[in-house]
Symmetry: C3
Subunit: 404 residues, 3 copies
């Protein structure tokens, strides 16, 4: 016989909340794999082997001068790892009997104790962790971020605004990605904090993290130069840059760019690379998502703006006290001017004179002079006249700047 | 026979997410209308006619000296438009065969090419667009905001934190409204960014956009003076002003005010005006939502605070480099003092002496002197004494300010 | 016969939105109780008695020198109250016939009118209210925050970004907690604004409010010194402090700390205390949520960081123009150095020399000198050598600071 009639209650029909993505270690493969990368970063590789009866961890350094490889038994069942020039950090979840534990193999210590262990309070689990220069950061299920010195002193503890997604560190910078809300219809709603931990903790940036539609965060970390970058599941790379605001104030803003060469591991036929044989690392060029990049104009625009962003990025690092490659910087400025001149020539050929003037406004005074010559030789006297006025304005501006 | 018994699974009963409002062009009527306004702004009107077999667009300028009207065929099926002193901008959605396209009729160009076309990348659709001074902004389904020069060069592309609702520009200001989250139980969760695009892009403001409960955004734009304003579906007008924060820092904050006269089109018996005959424009006074505005006290309070806000608004524009009407400003200061004196007289009559003192604290020294006379003549000697002390304090303050 | 077959429509299975917690007055017991505390704060107690046929309010001051107790009839059905040194504030919800009303018994007024009443506009209900120094704040169902002078003048009205949870004031500070979104799976998504209302309103802070997982806000208010603090339903106390950011900019950030002694009312066997007999007030010590506080190391770390936070808190108040207890401040600095020395001694005994150096880096130069002696006496000459280098660096730093 049929069951009792079901009352006609309202059925949910609005936008659907997206299940929040789980916390993960950037540079790891999933925890359910029996052989997995617990961490692959610029310092080394931590592999986990969960073979019955052995459960072990292999640590390997890209530069064996940093430290020799290590083989550790994994009786505690560590699931998370990070590796730096100073230490290897591991954490295991809590069990019915045991607390969640943090183990730091501080191999660069000059004293006789190379390891320390901390139990998290009962009921609190490590969810994400990383090693910075002389600090250890652990985000937990209690919505706390716990900081330790690399020697194992408790340094600070502060509240997170939402469940952690991942953490990453570079030098004294700490990047924390968290769920700032619940996304809908396939989107996540993530936020990102960038903190500086030199001496006193300070918040550099706290912003929504941009992702491609319906994507999740795949990686967060820093370029070799120290710029935080994210990669989403659509493969979109986004450096987290900052904007210079009004009245000398620095206002933060995310830029969608992909001006950097990315090192990656191409996976053939599967989403995650096998641990053995050791996968080869490939370097892929990335491009900005401009329109019409199949046209000559689009290609030059893409090259130009990529170069501008690389230049901004130098400015960002320089203003944050990082040493930068001045030659590379001046090279990039030169390249930009050359690209402007090429775009000018193309617009000139197409009789797009208005656009020629727009390009000239981005040129230095010297390059405007070249543009005037080009226009004159092309018989565009009206255009040459307009460019002369721009050249004059630029000369006056430069004169004023010198005086100030 | 009845169908198989439905399992008694939990039915959703919590707060209900609100379907997010769709992207729209402020100043347009809905796209499903066969005759519609694609744009009505301070420069002109773009009408769309979707009559079989003709699909056409009519452009009309309020000031025919700007440009003569245009009649354009609409074979591409443009759905979005904007109009400025320099150009007309159109965009069509993608179809199975064609990409979403952006067409700019740059009539103010002095070269021979008055039009440029850009194809958006495959899979990406224009959702909202606007024309600023010498720039074009298009927000797309890929969560990108694309900036072009008015001449058609790609200028910049950056990520949005959520799906766009609408964009609007005034001079070098660009206003972007986006879904910062999903609202519940009839509310939207919108955010607003105000950007300045003079030379380098910089973020002026990024905040939740206040709306009346259970309302949607109906319009966003700028006053003639350049102050961004929103109107919601409840008719509430809210300028987006900024607060001056501590230690000289500028902190942004939305103010709910409606200090401005609004031009609008009254619609008789329908929600949207017909395209023909041309609707008449009406000017409606707006008021601040104060309590008890049917009483004399409430009316004077409303007038006073409306005047204060108009004055703040002058300060905002002045500090942002806009020219302001100094006479109007001093007029508004004078009006405020007169209203304070009127409120003082009313409180005095009602024997609300404490309130009299509160009012005196907002007066200039000169007006306090008038208040003292008023109190003395009313035989309120205790009050006159207290006011004398306030007058003395104000004199000392003014003296100190002069010295500094 | 069975009802018609129910169509198999999709059933909601994603994350579950949490019903948003209701607005409440911090320091009150629930409105459904017939005898309840409408407010219990540092000034006094407002009790509500909803006994048929009498509905009355009793006001009692802790210090009867402020004002004598009051017995008010409650014919209007007030549900909300606040009490300060200057006034008692009451509000009732709207009924079918009457508007929501605000009644202020301004007992400290020196004129003959000790009471004023304001009707909120029709359709708008008071949801939360508080008394500050010379102002009254009321948050309403129209997403508005209305400010009045203590004398009853309308002072300002501004939009809230979400429905109010509660408001609290201290001196010229106003704290507003609101729903910044909808939380999921048991979490709330609250935001907190701190405003300064001295002269011009300015926003000090607008941030997500941290709560323990699956908890609600139980209380918000200020310490005796004026630091805003929150308590959640897990009993976690969190002062709302601010971080000093880069380049002299002040960036706000919440710290999870519990460095303060809390006065509270222990409830035996029920969640809310009875109004009679008058409950006794207990003082409970609070601790920071550090790891391993059962060990000697953990206890000293907890004491140290608690003291550091108390010290930061002095800095916060001092920089905001509050007078601070300089002796208490220097005492707390001294205590910190003593704790560092104790931790040093413990690490020394355990041969954790690296950690000893980390501790020394937090010491003043004088205390490093003591540490060197301690290390030498313990026969740790290598450590003493490293400490000497640190002492030298510190001496140079202090020398530089003096020169600047």
């Amino acid at each position: 016989p049929p069951g009792p009639p079901v009352p006609l209650r309202p059925v949910y029909e609005g936008p659907m909340p997206t299940p929040p993505q789980r916390a993960f270690q950037p540079g790891s493969t999933p925890a359910h794999l029996t052989h997995r990368f617990m961490m692959w970063n610029s310092v080394g590789i931590v592999r986990g082997y969960n073979d019955e009866p052995e459960n072990a961890i292999d640590v390997e350094f890209h530069d064996s001068a940093v430290h020799h490889g290590m083989h550790l038994s994994n009786a505690l069942g560590h699931k998370m790892a990070d590796i730096s020039q100073e230490a290897v950090l591991l954490a295991c979840p809590s069990t019915d009997e045991l607390c969640s534990k943090l183990v730091c193999v501080h191999f660069s210590s000059w004293d006789t104790h190379k390891e320390w262990v901390v139990d998290l309070p009962r009921g609190e689990d490590a969810r994400a962790l990383c090693l910075g220069r002389s600090f250890v950061a652990v985000a937990t299920s209690a919505l706390l971020l716990r900081l330790f010195t690399i020697g194992g002193l408790q340094r600070e503890v502060f509240s997170l605004s939402g469940n952690v997604v991942c953490v990453s560190a570079h030098g004294e910078q700490l990047c924390v990605v968290y769920h700032r809300g619940t996304g809908f219809d396939g989107d996540q709603a993530l936020g990102v904090q960038l903190l500086s931990l030199s001496q006193k903790r300070r918040l550099i940036l706290d912003q929504p993290l941009p992702l491609s539609p319906q994507s999740t965060l795949s990686w967060i970390g820093f370029t070799a130069e120290g710029t935080p970058c994210s990669v989403d599941s659509e493969g979109q790379v986004r450096p987290l840059l900052e904007d210079q605001g009004a009245q000398g104030q620095s206002r933060r803003h995310f830029n969608l760019i992909s001006c950097l060469f990315c090192r990656c591991i191409p996976c053939k036929g599967s989403r995650f690379p096998p641990t053995l044989p050791r996968p080869a690392v490939a370097v892929l060029p990335f491009k900005m998502p401009l329109c019409q990049t199949s046209t000559e104009k689009g290609q030059m625009e893409e090259q130009f703006w990529r170069s501008v962003l690389l230049h901004n990025h130098f400015g960002f690092l320089s203003s944050n006290g990082y040493e930068i490659d001045e030659e590379a910087q001046s090279q990039s400025l030169k390249e930009q001017q050359e690209l402007l001149m090429k775009m000018f020539a193309l617009s000139c050929k197409l009789d797009r004179e208005f656009r020629c003037v727009e390009l000239a406004q981005m040129m230095t005074q010297n390059v405007v002079t070249l543009a005037i010559k080009y226009a004159s030789r092309s018989g565009k006297m009206g255009l040459a006249q307009r460019l002369s006025e721009i050249a004059l304005e630029k000369a006056q501006e430069e004169h004023q700047e010198e005086e100030e």
